[in-house]
Symmetry: C2
Subunit: 446 residues, 2 copies
């Protein structure tokens, strides 16, 4: 296998898992438990610092993975050759070789706001399958949910008129992360991405302005910054120009005196954005001003409150990197028996659950409870017996849902500095089940 760039081939995603998922699966086979029906739920115990909600994303990749889940004979041979599975039952290899994902999946649609302890997704499948898929499902949903949430917060703070552009590819944590970030950013409310491959895959046009290198190269070779602007406009008439390579206000004044036709905007990437944007607006009235450089929703809020004249923002580093969404994937029921984890500070709710959302807020209940009046159950069936039962939502649908979701939140949850996170009420049935399950397990252990 290629070991330099660690590119992933389309048939390699089965092995994209933690070793223990496979050793546990082998144990389940040996114990005759591999076909027992298991329900695992994916949720977040605590929201990231300063977040008042999450926007669910990543379901499309998760389902695509489950669709394609398999192991090739060559992969299984490589796995055997490690020697780790010397004691595993022979049936284990047969199961993996013939294995397809045959379970049911329930999920919250992408673009939906969710909170702590609310399942984003539930897998109901033979135990061995539900176990192995954990790693990839978490990988897909954790990151895309983080980015969609940040995008929604950015849109909420910047307002509907602002142009919000995803510029994070150079800082994203791998090429694939840059593609996932681009999709999730558009899903959460950004307008466009500079990532050419991502844009083309998503059926969108990529966007961008120009970089300092062009200004520096043409200034050095042809004589002046003005030459670099004119050169760029010969091929991209009116394209937005980057004016802070040497002296921002000198460049703005020069453009004010020799204003190009249809100038689509200028970009500022350094300095005091409040003062500079106000001064540039004076020199170049009516020309959109774009800002970039380590911006996030809090900084945009600050810029707006300070009276900056900024019409669009390039979002990179602080959109696509940083602290993660720490989703977990926990066994909730096995063979009809509700189970829960009781580790210190990491208690989970047992049983197959549903989120009932109404104007009064969320209630976390059991999947089999009757839906309360005027409430909707957020988790929907998306896969049955390993087959998709709904088509993927389009990016436009997801983005519209995210916008609606955010608009319906209390203002205190939308605060990007000190939000108050809405708490789901626990239904009496779920509370009762939690109490019973906990006691019975303590009795077993003691």
């Amino acid at each position: 296998m290629d070991n330099a760039s660690l590119q992933i081939q389309p048939d390699e995603y089965g092995l994209l898992t933690d070793l223990y998922q496979l050793t546990m699966a082998a144990c389940y086979v040996g114990e005759g438990l591999d076909q027992r029906r298991a329900s695992f739920e994916l949720f977040v115990r605590r929201l990231p610092e300063g977040f008042g909600y999450l926007i669910a994303a990543g379901l499309a990749s998760a389902l695509d993975y489950l669709d394609k889940f398999c192991f090739t004979p060559a992969q299984l041979a490589a796995l055997k050759a490690t020697g780790i599975f010397a004691g595993a039952p022979a049936d284990f290899w047969q199961l993996l070789e013939s294995g397809k994902f045959s379970g049911d999946v329930w999920a919250v649609p992408e673009g939906t706001a969710i909170f702590a302890n609310e399942p984003i997704l539930r897998v109901e499948a033979p135990l061995w399958q539900a176990q192995i898929v954990e790693t990839y499902l978490l990988n897909a949903i954790n990151y895309q949910t983080l980015i969609a949430t940040r995008a929604a917060r950015l849109r909420d703070v910047a307002g509907p008129e602002a142009k919000l552009l995803e510029f994070g590819t150079r800082r994203a944590f791998s090429p694939q992360a840059s593609l996932w970030a681009a999709r999730a950013a558009l899903a959460g409310g950004l307008d466009a991405t500079s990532n050419v491959l991502a844009a083309l895959k998503l059926g969108r046009n990529p966007v961008g302005t120009m970089a300092h290198a062009l200004v520096m190269a043409i200034t050095a070779l042809e004589g002046s910054e003005a030459d670099s602007f004119e050169a760029f406009h010969r091929y991209f008439p009116g394209a937005a120009l980057l004016i802070d390579t040497y002296d921002t206000m000198a460049a703005a004044k020069m453009l004010g005196q020799n204003r190009p036709d249809q100038l689509a905007g200028i970009r500022l990437d350094s300095g005091d954005l409040v003062t500079l944007s106000q001064q540039v607006r004076q020199e170049l009235p009516g020309i959109p001003i774009f800002a970039s450089g380590d911006l996030d929703e809090r900084e945009i809020l600050r810029l707006k409150q300070a009276g900056a004249c900024i019409d669009g923002y390039g979002l990179g580093t602080k959109l696509v990197t940083g602290s993660p969404v720490n989703g977990v994937y926990k066994l909730a029921e096995i063979d009809g028996i509700p189970v829960m984890k009781e580790a210190s500070g990491k208690l989970t709710y047992p049983g197959r659950k549903q989120i009932f959302r109404s104007e009064q807020g969320d209630r976390l209940g059991l999947a089999d409870e009757a839906t309360p009046a005027h409430a909707d159950g957020l988790l929907m069936p998306v896969m049955r017996h390993g087959q998709r039962v709904v088509a993927d939502d389009s990016l436009g649908q997801i983005c519209a849902r995210a916008t609606r979701s955010v608009a319906q939140l209390p203002a205190t949850a939308r605060d990007v500095v000190n939000p108050i996170i809405p708490q789901a009420e626990i239904s009496p049935a779920l509370q009762k089940l939690t109490d019973c399950t906990r006691r019975s397990q303590l009795a077993t252990v003691n």
Copy 2:
């Protein structure tokens, strides 16, 4: 193209760039500047908060990308269909279609410690090529350098005897990020990864213990936590056991009374790790204790100072996510003319540079300067005329280099809480060039 999981095909990496790289390249073609020789250098202006050094990594992926750099006719058709390039010169398309990377690359070997403003890599190539490759090169080196650096810090704090295991796949920012993180973590000093695909691609055995789900499932189906441990050991004799699902000390006492043969270890994933590890050591003397759960180098330092009895650590979230290394890629010379950026707070040093390292510290000078006595130039030629001139280092070589690099650092740079970052001295020749270049450009602009 596939738009759900956004998998990247091996021939798609040419498009993995920001739009503006392509529009600038089109402008260079139109202006007849595309073949001018450009030197871009990749470096970090400021180290991440709390870091006293960086361990360079990602070169192997960067060179693999440059080796394969190309555009397919279908990709160029998709690009044309966006309409963005309607004004681009026809030669631009011919250039991309026939384009291969034909430049020279100088780089610091992976595993080398480097500091602010020191080039990790320099590309010397026709301007259009050197421009387009910026995005991918930054993506590859920024992330892998971050992870290798964190791994080196973890090893430095935990000591040579500790087992350090990379468990971050579920939290990594995309599947490919998990593979890159695994490789860079091993390069920086970790022992092994739980990521099965990464391990097999790297020729290593994956590692792991067990998860709470197995304990919960078998406890529910077969009766007790002890049953789950026995079941797992039937297929993986002696495998490390996870003992905090219900009551950590109850599980430890139970294992102390019915001690399995060759128990390879136990894992703690919650609670007060200092107290629990001490109590578990009492119950299970001689059994290695592994800890996991949001650990990083500072927490490991705290645990050690507090007297925790921990022999190995599982590192996930805080190893593979978080604040990035913010490398930049800046034009240093065009057609033999040194250039620099002078934007507020973002000044760069002009000219093609070399890092001269000696026991007295680093000197940043010009590539053409004589190497000072008792110093070595860290940047080496790795590609000439688009051809590799050295083979990739093995992971073992890189890791050994990282260990040596860290050992040679001042203790103040190795401090993981309040490090002092070594500063390279600027050579008189580079200082003189900086002063001249700056003045001449200001004269041009004003």
